[in-house]
């Protein structure tokens, strides 16, 4: 059930020189190379086929090439320690350049201090997940981390905020101070936020600061020009639900499609969407199904001023049975039957 990954099998190769952590001892050839070649031919007493009375437990063969880490994990203390910390090695081994770096490092010398440093910010159950998402954090130096945290403190981030940011974004500490400064400045200028709002944004969704600027630009264009929100509304939307800006390329179309359905087909005004931005993050088919069902029942009324008002969040939250009981006032089976006619 293993698939042979061609890019890995020639890359994950342990050479003798980097065996510091794996308890790899003298290899077999050193025993033979003790004598010169000519002597070996004549010296019948020193062939490897003869039984030897000295202790040979120090001698092991070379490690063969392997396409996954599982081949080395039983012999390497470093890898075993990582597994004990709940780090998911099978996800890390999909990136060969990271694996190369990790295998050359020793747990005691390199990784331990970094792990203790991170433990201040991330609690022990999440640390495995943290390292799985960003294994290179074990290769950075601690002075760099300290400089970056000092930068955040100088920008009046409270300690609690700094803890939150680092715990929720495993990549934050990899960015140099200049880069983070540039990013925060970019957000401040683009959306005209003041200092407090930048801090709020960074704490609420730290991943957006390290997200690709190109995608954020495209998403801003989608929200502002294509959806037709003005600047004030864009700012409210950003501070309320920054996740909308974090849609990547293949899903930007679906973001627009969702908005299109809500605004043009169900005729929900901008203000209601601003009031409850979660609707833009829910998949379109759910909204469509529930709305069409309410329409056939004649209960599709989303205006808060009139009677029989259905709040927007009813279209998204909870399971179908609760939706049916609370808002559609019918049995879930009827809803299922309706779904089978769509």
């Amino acid at each position: 059930m293993f698939s042979l990954k061609m890019d890995l099998c020639h890359l994950v190769r342990l050479t003798i020189a980097y065996n510091a952590n794996i308890t790899m001892r003298r290899n077999l050839s050193s025993v033979v190379l003790a004598n010169s070649l000519a002597e070996v031919k004549h010296d019948q007493n020193n062939t490897v086929l003869e039984s030897v009375s000295e202790d040979l437990s120090e001698v092991t063969p070379y490690f063969p090439e392997s396409f996954n880490i599982a081949a080395y994990v039983n012999k390497s203390e470093t890898l075993q320690n990582l597994v004990k910390l709940n780090v998911n090695l099978s996800k890390i081994e999909k990136k060969p350049h990271i694996v190369n770096k990790l295998l050359k490092m020793d747990f005691e010398k390199d990784m331990k201090e970094n792990i203790f440093f991170i433990k201040d910010f991330v609690d022990s159950e999440n640390i495995g997940n943290y390292i799985t998402k960003n294994p290179l954090i074990l290769c950075e130096s601690i002075e760099n981390f300290q400089v970056r945290i000092n930068y955040l403190q100088s920008k009046s981030f409270s300690n609690l905020q700094i803890h939150n940011i680092i715990a929720r974004n495993p990549f934050w500490l990899m960015f140099s101070t200049e880069r983070i400064d540039k990013r925060l400045g970019y957000f401040q200028n683009k959306f005209s936020l003041n200092g407090n709002e930048v801090r709020l944004l960074a704490t609420k969704q730290p991943k957006i600061i390290t997200y690709s600027i190109h995608h954020i630009n495209t998403n801003s264009f989608v929200v502002k020009e294509e959806m037709g929100f003005n600047d004030e509304e864009v700012k409210t939307l950003l501070l309320n639900k920054p996740k909308i800006w974090m849609t990547s390329k293949p899903y930007q179309k679906s973001l627009l499609e969702r908005f299109n359905y809500l605004h043009n087909v169900i005729k929900i005004p901008h203000s209601s969407i601003l009031h409850y931005p979660n609707v833009l993050l829910c998949r379109n088919f759910k909204v469509k199904q529930r709305h069409m069902f309410l329409e056939t029942l004649g209960r599709a009324q989303y205006d808060a001023n009139k009677e029989n008002y259905i709040p927007l969040k009813a279209l998204i939250e909870n399971t179908d049975s609760e939706f049916c009981k609370n808002y559609a006032k019918c049995n879930v089976d009827d809803f299922n039957l309706f779904l089978k006619t769509l």
Binding site: S53, D55, A71, V73, N74, N86, S90, L339
Partner: protein, 306 residues
């Protein structure tokens, strides 16, 4: 519904046919992928076999050595990956359903792939609900195409549609005899025809056995079509032709497969039910249905019995 407690047992009994309700605008491949992803996720969440142990013989080689039984780190799911991955499953469909069509889709999982092959060759009839709209004709005959023509439809009445639809049905049934591959004036053809409707000669010829208008609220209308070997474009063309014959224009707004042989809508699984226990239940029901009707898989003659 049986509650499965063991992933290995669940994997062993996951062999057979399931009947799902494919949503519109989702390709069959996506449906397949989603179902396999859900199955892998559910199987990986169930408890599985205990982790293997390793035998290590340690100590100096010139003294008595110790034999130790240590846990095998290489068997840990954190190191070797999840226990069930998509590659462990084979999944194939019985007959294709177009991208924009919704409705019954039969999928075979692992050993069920043999059944889907048999179902495919058995050429079962399918019943479709084809929704159309009068007044506009598009270049692809479907709602997503460019509008080519617009026309009025005030003159179209229920009787006109029924008359034209009955005409179409008769014409199709006449061509059915020609498509059966037999000579029209022979005794065999007469014997076949006296038994009822017959299947076409090969799998590329669409044959329509029945068309009926079941809903008419201008401009929208719905036809029920019973046919074999059809594809979605053929059904869209039917609607377009209907519009032409009504001296108006029409295009298709939706296609829904409501029956596939004896597999019906109440049997089909909705998208929110594509999980392990629902799928196992459905597999059981489909197996029951196949056992009750032998001729679904192995048709005895070209005459249509189902």
């Amino acid at each position: 519904m049986v509650k499965i407690k063991d992933a290995a047992l669940a994997y062993k009994i996951l062999n057979g046919l399931i009947c799902v309700y494919k949503p519109a605008c989702v390709s069959v491949r996506q449906v397949q992928h989603k179902i396999l992803t859900n199955l892998c996720r559910d199987l990986n969440n169930l408890p599985d076999r205990p982790q293997e142990k390793r035998v290590e013989i340690v100590g100096a080689t010139n003294a008595p050595m110790k034999v130790k039984l240590l846990p095998n780190f290489a068997d840990d799911p954190l190191v070797c990956g999840p226990r069930y991955i998509q590659k462990d499953f084979r999944c194939s469909w019985a007959t294709h359903l177009g991208l924009f069509s919704s409705g019954i889709l039969l999928l075979g999982i692992n050993d069920g792939t043999k059944l889907t092959y048999l179902l495919n060759t058995a050429r079962l009839t399918r019943a479709f609900k084809v929704h159309g709209q009068l007044g506009k004709a598009t270049d692809t005959y479907f709602w997503n195409g460019r509008t080519m023509e617009r026309s009025t439809y005030g003159h179209v009445s229920r009787e006109k549609i029924d008359r034209i639809v009955a005409n179409m049905q008769a014409a199709h049934q006449k061509t059915m005899y020609e498509l059966s591959g037999l000579h029209i004036d022979s005794q065999t053809t007469y014997e076949m025809a006296s038994q009822g409707l017959i299947r076409p000669a090969n799998s590329k010829l669409p044959v329509v056995y029945g068309i009926k208008c079941i809903h008419f609220a201008p401009p929208n209308f719905t036809l029920e079509v019973q046919s074999v070997n059809e594809y979605d474009k053929y059904l869209w063309t039917l609607i377009h032709d209907l519009g032409v014959q009504l001296k108006s224009t029409a295009h298709c707004t939706g296609v829904q497969c409501i029956r596939h042989g004896k597999f019906d809508i109440p049997l089909a699984l909705l998208r929110k039910h594509w999980t392990l226990d629902h799928i196992l239940n459905n597999m059981d029901e489909c197996r029951q249905l196949l056992e009750d009707n032998e001729n679904l898989l192995k048709p005895k003659s070209a005459a249509l019995s189902v």
